[in-house]
Every structure is written in structure tokens, then in C-alpha cells.
């Protein structure tokens, strides 16, 4: 019985020490990956929002039919982004909503007659016409 006890006790002591060591290493590594990932998504979502809000502002005074369609599209995109918990990595629909927003952004660009292939990543953004 005491043999059994020792068997688990030694394993347990080693385990505790290893666990502390491992979780420290894991947290550091995890933070690094996570922050890069979060940064990219934050930047992307932010750029869609800034883009849409600015255009909404620019078209404020234009009330003709063509522009009302554009304004509707912009409102829709802004609404989607504002509802999206971009900073929550545990959000279960994160990828799904992100794809929807990307699609909506492409639609907004086409309605505005802008090619949406300007890069959202950290590369220098250039709009091409």
C-alpha cells in the first residue's frame, strides 16, 4: 500500500513542478501567437470601419437615388462591424462573422465603384483604379 502511495507521490511531485514550468512557457508562447493573430484581425476590422464611417460622412449631403443605395450599404456594413466582438477570441462565430463582413465590404466597394483589392494587411495600402 505504501509502495503504491510512493509511486503516485513521486509522480505527483514531478508533475506539479513540470506543470508550473510548462504553463509558464506555454503562456509566453501563446501570448505571442495570439497577439499577432489579434493584431491582424483588429487592423482589418478597424480599416473596414474607418473606411465605411468616412464614406458615410462624405456622402451625408448627397441625397440622390444612387447615393442612397450606397448609404444603405455603408450603414449595413457599419452595423455588422459594430455588433462584431472582434477582440473576443472565444467568440464561437468569429470566423463566420468575419467572412460575412469581408463579403459586405466587397459589396460596398463595388457600389462605390472602388476596387476592393487594396491590401488590408500591414503592407502599404494602395487603391487601384
Amino acid at each position: 500500500k505504501s509502495l503504491h502511495f510512493c509511486f503516485y507521490r513521486f509522480h505527483g511531485e514531478g508533475y506539479q513542478e513540470g506543470y508550473a514550468e510548462g504553463s509558464h512557457v506555454g503562456v509566453v508562447e501563446g501570448r505571442r501567437y495570439g497577439s499577432l493573430h489579434g493584431a491582424k484581425i483588429g487592423s482589418e476590422i478597424g480599416s473596414y470601419l474607418g473606411f465605411a464611417l468616412t464614406w458615410q460622412c462624405l456622402l451625408q449631403k448627397c441625397t440622390d437615388e444612387k447615393n442612397s443605395k450606397r448609404i444603405r450599404a455603408l450603414d449595413s456594413l457599419i452595423g455588422m462591424i459594430q455588433k462584431f466582438p472582434y477582440e473576443d477570441p472565444t467568440y464561437d462565430k468569429l470566423q463566420e462573422d468575419l467572412e460575412k463582413i469581408r463579403g459586405k465590404f466587397k459589396q460596398v466597394c463595388s457600389v462605390l465603384n472602388i476596387q476592393s483589392d487594396f491590401r488590408i494587411s500591414t503592407e502599404r495600402s494602395l487603391l487601384t483604379f
Partner: protein, 181 residues
């Protein structure tokens, strides 16, 4: 019968020695088994800890990175909108200014990503204390030395002198990185 006596006495000596040898071997085996158990436990512990740590760290880092970059992204998006507006409406004069700003923002984002990707951690006082304790230094260091002050937790931040106390201790090499203020 004397030969019997001799035989018996000799065999009991042998038996006694065999027992001693056996005890020694058993002890050795026991030590090695327990040592193996410690190592196995340590390895299992590291794996389990790392797995959990990775997930926790990822979630923390993700939130941090996203919040850090979202404003930058918004600025970028605003500039892009202005750029496309200028293109559509022929305001060429502002184009170069806007492009310059975009370049600046882009460079800033790259810098932020580089910083996030670096493996330097901000050294916490706790790290230094742990490592100093690990070194098992004599507790009778004279007061007024950096070591005793660190131990008393008087230092609020770790500067390069933190690296000096710890000397060549590999465990604490990260603590030699001065705090990024």
C-alpha cells in the same frame, strides 16, 4: 561431525552476504524507479501545463493585439476612403499627402507587429525573486546590496542591475532585459 559444522557456518556467512547484496540492489532499483517516476511526472506535467498555458496565453494575447491595432486600422481605413474620394473627384493635390500618411501608418503597424512578435518579456520582479531563490544564495548578504533590497521587494522595477545580481544564471537571462518603459 566437524565438516558439517564448517559447512553450515560457511553457508550462513554466504547467506548473510547474499542478503546484504540483495538489499543493496533492491535499494538501488527503488531509487532509480522513484527517480524515473519523478521524471515521468515532470514530463507529463510540462505537457499538460504547456497545453493549458498556450490556450490561455493565446486568448490574452489575442485580446491585447486586437485592441492595440484596431485604432490604427481605423485610421488606415479613413485614409483609404479619402484617397478613393480624391481619385473619384479629381482632387489630386491631396493624394501625395494621404499616401505619405498611409506609409507612416503602415510602418507603424509593422513596428507594432515586430514588437508583438518578439520573445522578450517584460521582466517582473517575481521572476527575479524566483531565480535568486533558486540560486540558493546565503541569506546573510549585507543590507544595502542590490540582492537584499530585491529580496525585500523594495525595487518597483527591474533595471539592468537586475541582470548583474543574477550573474550567469541561465534561468534568469530574460531578467537581464531592462524593463521596457
Amino acid at each position: 561431525m566437524s565438516w558439517v559444522q564448517v559447512a553450515v557456518s560457511r553457508s550462513s556467512e554466504d547467506i548473510f552476504d547474499e542478503d546484504a547484496d540483495e538489499m543493496y540492489l533492491l535499494q538501488k532499483e527503488w531509487n532509480s524507479t522513484m527517480k524515473k517516476r519523478l521524471t515521468e511526472g515532470y514530463r507529463d506535467g510540462i505537457e499538460a501545463g504547456k497545453e493549458l498555458g498556450l490556450q490561455e496565453g493565446f486568448n490574452q494575447g489575442y485580446r491585447h493585439g486586437a485592441e492595440l491595432m484596431v485604432t490604427c486600422g481605423q485610421f488606415k481605413g479613413t485614409l483609404n476612403a479619402l484617397l478613393s474620394w480624391c481619385h473619384s473627384n479629381g482632387c489630386d493635390s491631396a493624394l501625395s499627402k494621404i499616401n505619405n500618411l498611409l506609409d507612416v501608418v503602415g510602418k507603424h503597424e509593422e513596428d507594432v507587429l515586430k514588437y508583438l512578435n518578439s520573445t522578450d518579456q517584460h521582466p517582473h520582479l517575481g521572476h527575479v525573486l524566483d531565480s535568486v531563490q533558486d540560486m540558493d544564495l546565503n541569506d546573510t548578504a549585507p543590507s544595502g546590496t542590490v540582492y537584499s533590497e530585491v529580496k525585500a521587494g523594495k525595487h518597483e522595477d527591474v533595471d539592468s542591475s537586475g541582470g548583474n545580481i543574477c550573474g550567469n544564471n541561465a534561468v534568469v537571462s530574460h531578467a537581464a532585459v531592462p524593463e521596457i518603459v
